[in-house]
Subunit: 349 residues, 2 copies
């Protein structure tokens, strides 16, 4: 299972909207196709969105290479890619690094610049792989043998370059020989848990039970869940964490049942430019996602629907934030900035 | 909108599986059809299940009237109806009353007994109407002008003889001229909120917003919800309440956000024979309900799924239990038995 690969000058994305029923790769030869794939969630998960955008810029540079409008074309691609989804900060982190690469090689000809952009995207891909290895090992250390682990949305190999975040940590714990049972929130409205997490766990041979989101409290009360572990789309300097809608509810429930609640994400998801979660823009998606599924309408037509794609979990409800730099605990501000400094160290914007 | 009516010797049930897209009535001329309608949720909601079962017994008596096996046939119908769904106590309450009617007229001929059974079912229908009027008025008194009210599942006119329970109270508050905004949990897996509550609210002209279950916490944190109000399938003597899966989670979230959480149900839902919620049997339904959405398969096939149809909210998380006898508060045990004594007063079994 992998979400994306850059090969022979084009970016291949596994179409996550069609999973688990069909395995279809989208062949992107231009940045417009990449932007559309991000917008429609064909590629999703904060780290994967960042990497896809980086290679989107490479595609823009490749196709613009011979023109006199090279810099303009690449800039425009960055703008279009930046407007696809507002919440996951990895998108802006990746575009920030690509912009920095353009600027630090400003005088060079298009062909050279394209080479530098490709190298920068590859470097991010490699850094993401290394971060994945490190953070999933730290995350696995938080999972006791015999644990029931509740997870929300999909945070496995589909969301990044290799292992993923929270689900990657669960996978590593399993590979270490620990007995783990995963409680998989289906994760409405787009059912990433029911469609993708079950599919990944099935392939990995890790035992799990699929539940609807509203069953989590019931199984916590019955002692089936020992901890909750989720990913992140943006982590503010103080540790407040934006993640898939429903995450905040899981955190409140975990606290009420005295269960640890962990966030696993690379430092490219940490946004030190915002002090707290209040500053995080929450994407509002189309009402149809709530009113129907797979094209089949559920509710009456013409009704009022809310569809925030994310919510914000305040740092006080988080037992630990795991990055490639280690396991940060409250107070998060000093620890997270240490992790970021030790990591790639490039600011988000 | 009404869930059921007995007319010209047959029971008509509005097929709630087909709503809101189609208005189809199921014509039941025998108890087997009624049992099937209860099992498949064509008729649902604790009070409506009880009334449907009562009329199911009437149908059994009508068709058995001329045979020498009258008592056996009626007994068998009661057994079959009792096995349809295990959690909603109104089913057992209604069948208990029908059995008592048979016993108190033991010596009479089938025709007479059938008349008594019909009279008993009609009496329950009338009592349910009166209970609905009273409890929705009490419930409405708990809803302040301008309130945002979160509700779960469907608890309107479709679940009983007339107004319903929690949604009935919201309707009465609206009819009293209060400004009310309803936050409608879609209520997975069978989407009674998305399909039925929205449909009823639309017809009543009450403003609402449909959300997925996992958005409730987000809107509570944002100050949009002032209280939560739900129905019940069985209330133990101490106030512990079984209701649609997800209700317990809403109660935990309400408490964490310091919001009142109210249960609205007739005394026919109170089961004084069980001391606490631990004794309540939780119905486990087919995994396919979770693995698909609106009939569309979602997850991979052949996976492990949990599908408890109900959960139990402990009395300590409930701010008030509203019956036709008034608003009971903690400690619930003495208040609930007063309400039951003042009500129909017939024990559940």
């Amino acid at each position: 299972v992998r979400a994306l690969e850059f090969r022979d000058g084009s970016l291949r994305l596994l179409d996550q909207r069609r999973l688990p029923h069909e395995i279809i790769w989208i062949e992107c030869r231009d940045y417009v196709t990449v932007a559309e794939a991000i917008r429609t969630l064909s590629v999703r998960g904060a780290p994967a969105i960042g990497l896809a955008a980086a290679y989107g810029v490479v595609l823009a540079a490749q196709t613009a290479r011979d023109g006199s409008t090279f810099r303009e074309d690449v800039s425009k691609a960055m703008e279009v890619l930046a407007r696809t989804r507002p919440t996951a900060v990895n998108l802006f982190y990746a575009l920030g690094r690509m912009r920095a690469a353009v600027e630090s090689h400003a005088g060079e000809p298009p062909e050279e610049l394209t080479r530098h952009l490709r190298a920068e995207a590859d470097a991010m891909m490699e850094a993401d792989q290394a971060a994945n290895q490190a953070m999933t090992a730290f995350g696995a250390s938080l999972i006791p043998d015999g644990a029931g682990v509740l997870t929300h949305c999909n945070t496995g190999a589909l969301v990044s370059s290799v292992l993923g975040t929270a689900l990657g940590a669960i996978r590593v714990a399993h590979e270490q020989g620990k007995s783990v049972h995963v409680w998989v929130d289906e994760t409405r409205p787009l059912l990433q848990g029911a469609r993708l997490t079950t599919w990944e766990l099935q392939q990995l041979g890790i035992p799990f039970t699929l539940i609807t989101d509203n069953m989590a409290a019931h199984f916590m009360a019955r002692g089936k869940v020992d901890l909750a572990m989720v990913g992140a789309d943006r982590i503010a300097a103080n540790g407040d964490t934006a993640n898939k809608i429903g995450t905040y509810g899981v955190a409140v429930l975990a606290r009420a049942h005295e269960l640890p609640f962990y966030v696993v994400a690379p430092t490219s998801t940490v946004d030190l430019t915002i002090p707290s979660g209040e500053a995080i823009t929450i994407e509002e998606r189309r009402p149809e996602e709530v009113m129907s599924f797979g094209g089949v309408p559920v509710s009456p037509p013409n009704i009022t629907v809310a569809n925030p794609a994310f919510d914000v979990t305040p740092a006080r409800l988080i037992s630990g934030i795991v990055t490639e730099g280690g396991i940060a605990t409250d107070p998060y501000a000093p620890r997270l900035s240490e992790h970021v400094r030790a990591g790639a160290g490039v600011p988000a914007r």
